[in-house]
Symmetry: C2
Subunit: 317 residues, 2 copies
């Protein structure tokens, strides 16, 4: 397949680097201010070098990436909320051109899911968005193969930054601010960590999962989720939990009751007590009990593998 | 899709019961001595009732199931080794008729993998066999989506009976014979448990995984695996392990070194120390680190969900 990659952050760059190994051709790579476009395939190494040196991937206009020849648009621009622009517009352009769209960007799928599905219904192209939920962990394709009808509920640890902070608080007996600073030094937490530590990122992923499970019966947005982050979890809570063989994790839950994210007590050695930046999703199924899927929920190459798995499941146009 | 189900043990019966809920029609159901066949769809409830009362699912000949009208043959007869008959022959019949075949039966895929792939190459039909490895756990579809090229190694706990016995030995400080007898009383172990406790079942699943990962470069059979079961694990080994924060599990491993199954020390609270009859598969990947997939590795409905997931991934004929 020919891939037009919009977004040259960690995910976009990794998709560009790995695409060839999966047998695909990158015909466009765009960042916010430029693009490299070539119907026969761009020189990915050169474009990434140019990005490193000049801050721009190419000499073409970003619009040229959307207008060019491709089979799959890979939407890897930063997640935005509300109107989810410009990501939503990029996907709409692809679908209206009867092309496929694979999203790593959570915004459009969390905030305008019904509109995306309407556009898809009118298009020869399809949308897939494994990379938007749980990075490398094959959550959505497992739900798809199982049949969303057969999944009763889902829960999990879906934000590695928050999980890392809680893991370190429990392990070292340190308080939140101290561990957050440490995480920022290590690059595990952003300079502005609110998206992760306030639970927004985990909530977006749960909203997406809720939309998939609801199969059009209703549509969820971020505002429909009850969200509490980890910013008020005191170190004492973790010590108290430990004395009872428990610990605290930021858990997202999706069920017929809706979407909830918040700090929860979990068994210290149970499946949900994943450590560090690991993510886990538990699916409760109709005929097969509980399925656990865990692994790396974030990272350039990790998320790229999910994008490329999705590309592999798209039909020829 | 129209399903012809050959084999009316727990798996075959569960597939027959659940197929309608997935939108499929059962056009044939056969046991070793009879069949119920109807191109418009058999009365599944009646056939299962007849099986319970008379020991036979129908009044037709078993051959009629293989000769009838269907899209997918579901091969759910008991696993046999060596020539893997009659299961292999059933699959060959389906492929030679340009029909699909979905296997829960491990025999043909473990013992005659190359021949199956050759038959498939000559057929309009495809073979899938998720149910042969890890029951409800989506191991093979995850490998497929990830790309077998990107999987470096796999390991896991793939036999629930052996795992249950080791779990109970560790928990209760009892010896192997005692716990085995308890497991047999509970129906977790068979009257002749050798297939499970000698590691054969786990080895077959690892051989299948090795065949998938090798992608035709070489073909493995059961005889290529180094296999040691749990029959000689003394209770004292588990006590000693516990004092060191470890326990013992029957672990299957697939790598460029080949296929090995045997009792191994694992961290007591680590991912591989699953409890009871739970199974787990760990995939080591090129770009996304480790993926863990765990859940119920056996059972009628559980394995049926894997069969039906496979049916959902087959193309229209």
């Amino acid at each position: 397949m020919r891939l037009a990659i919009v977004g040259s952050g960690a995910v976009g760059r990794s998709v560009a680097e790995l695409a060839g190994g999966y047998g695909h051709t990158v015909t466009a790579l765009a960042d916010s201010g430029s693009a490299a476009v070539d119907t026969d395939g761009i020189d990915v190494a050169a474009a990434l070098e140019r990005k490193r040196e000049d801050g721009q991937v190419g000499t073409a206009d970003p619009e040229d990436a959307l207008d060019g020849e491709y089979d799959v648009l890979v939407e890897a621009t930063p997640t935005t909320l509300g109107d989810a622009q410009p990501g939503f517009g990029h996907v709409r352009t692809a679908l209206e051109r009867d092309r496929h769209a694979v999203l790593g960007n959570k915004g459009p799928v969390a905030e305008r899911y019904d509109e995306l599905r309407d556009l898809e219904a009118e298009s020869a192209g399809a949308i897939r968005f494994e990379a938007a939920v749980g990075g490398a962990i094959p959550v959505l394709s497992t739900v798809e193969d199982f049949g969303p009808d057969n999944i009763v509920a889902a829960r999990g640890v879906l934000n590695g930054t928050a999980n890392f902070v809680l893991t370190r608080m429990a392990a070292e007996g340190l308080d939140y601010e101290h561990v957050l600073a440490e995480a920022q030094d290590m690059g595990v937490a952003e300079a502005d960590p609110s998206f992760d530590v306030e639970g927004t990122d985990a909530a977006l992923k749960c909203v997406i999962l809720a939309n998939v499970l609801a199969q059009g019966e209703r549509t969820y947005r971020l505002e429909d989720a009850e969200v509490e982050g980890i910013t008020d979890v005191p170190g004492s809570a973790l010590e108290l939990a430990h004395e009872d063989g428990r610990t605290v994790r930021l858990i997202g839950e999706v069920s017929s009751d809706g979407v909830r994210v918040g700090p929860r007590l979990v068994s210290e050695h149970g499946d949900l007590a994943v450590g560090g930046t690991t993510n886990i999703v538990q699916l409760e199924t109709d005929h097969a009990g509980r399925l656990n899927l865990s692994g790396r929920g974030a990272g350039g190459p990790e998320t790229a593998t999910a994008v490329l798995s999705d590309v592999g499941r798209l039909p020829e146009l």
